[in-house]
Amino acid sequence: MHWQSTKSNHNESVGISESERLTKTLHRIFLFLYLQFAFYWATIAAGMLVNYYYVVPSNVQSNFSGILLQIFSVPSLFTHVLFAVLSTSMSIPVIILARRVGLKKVILLHAGAMTSRTIGFIFGPLFVYYATSAISNSSLANISTFIMASVFLVAVILTFLSRIFIVREDVRLKYSVTQSVAPITLER
């Protein structure tokens, strides 16, 4: 009887420490998601600066190095790309941490978000390419920008959805354990 009780207590403590570990991992994911949302917002802020104030100069070459050089030489464009990269890269620690706690849906959603951002990273420079004086195709430049903006929104939606699953898991962990070891007990 005494042995059974000890074993039960041992299982409970193991359950709690495991649950605590999982909860800590979930909270780390929350931190990275906060950072990701801040970077998303900064991406939009800098992106709108580009949208309203930036004009592709006539001397920009319509090749890879010319476009790359342009990104690094214009502060608003550089800031926009920097925050875009930072916000996308925040999905990497989220995926790693989600793997640890076995949140498959979160992994898939962030992989989807990164994929859609990669599409954005192709269409962003394409906007500069089509707007160069050598190509000068405004309709394709506009379509490229629109695709870039649309896939950005897709990424935001996917990461939003991922947080819903993390909250669900957090609640499940907290209350599946709390209910079995709660200090308050009513007798009836």
């Binding site: 709108m48 949208n51 506009n142 629109f146 935001v156 939003f160 709390t178 079995s180 709660a182 009513l186």
Partner: protein
């Protein structure tokens, strides 16, 4: 002797709306997200295909009319969620939604200033600044509404997990 254990709900904001009311509010939040989505798409369309060129954004433009009608609905839905939050004891929901409402008010003012000062990229510094503020605060409102939605969703999950009604 039967025992019933009470989980510790410290830090949870469940309010007094009840499960059904919370579920209804969550549906309203999801509908609001569809409006945000529509606002983003129409806004980007106007921004990229009309404003970025030499054209001005006319107040009678169909895309602009859809954008403005949706923005009114979006404001109404966000406002309702804010009132529900404050009235039914979910302060965080109320505060996040209040932030979103304020952002939407200022961004609407920015949008109107954008239109009235010319509505194109070549209309001058005030037009561009107004457009930039509109876009920036729209995104902030989206994030704030999202956090209030998460708080409602969490309250529903906690109530379900602890078998409260």
């Amino acid at each position: 002797m039967e025992t019933k254990q009470i989980p510790n709900l410290e830090g949870e904001e469940l309010g007094n709306l009840g499960l059904e009311g919370l579920r209804l509010t969550l549906k309203l939040c999801y509908a609001n997200f569809l409006l945000y989505l529509l606002l983003y798409v129409t806004g980007m369309y106007v921004n990229i295909f009309i404003t970025s060129g030499v054209n001005t954004t006319s107040i009678n433009d169909p895309a602009n009319i859809i954008h403005m009608v949706v923005s009114v609905l979006n404001f109404a839905f966000t406002f309702i969620v804010m009132v529900v939050g404050f009235v039914y004891g979910m302060k965080k929901v109320g505060k996040f939604s209040l932030g979103a409402v304020l952002c939407l008010v200022v961004s609407t003012a920015g949008g109107l200033l954008f239109l009235t000062t010319g509505g194109s990229r070549q209309s001058g510094a005030i037009t561009l600044a107004a457009g930039w503020i509109m876009s920036l605060l729209f995104m902030l409102a989206l994030f704030l509404s999202y956090y209030s939605t998460l708080k409602i969703m969490r309250a529903i999950r906690v109530i379900e997990a602890t078998n409260r009604t």
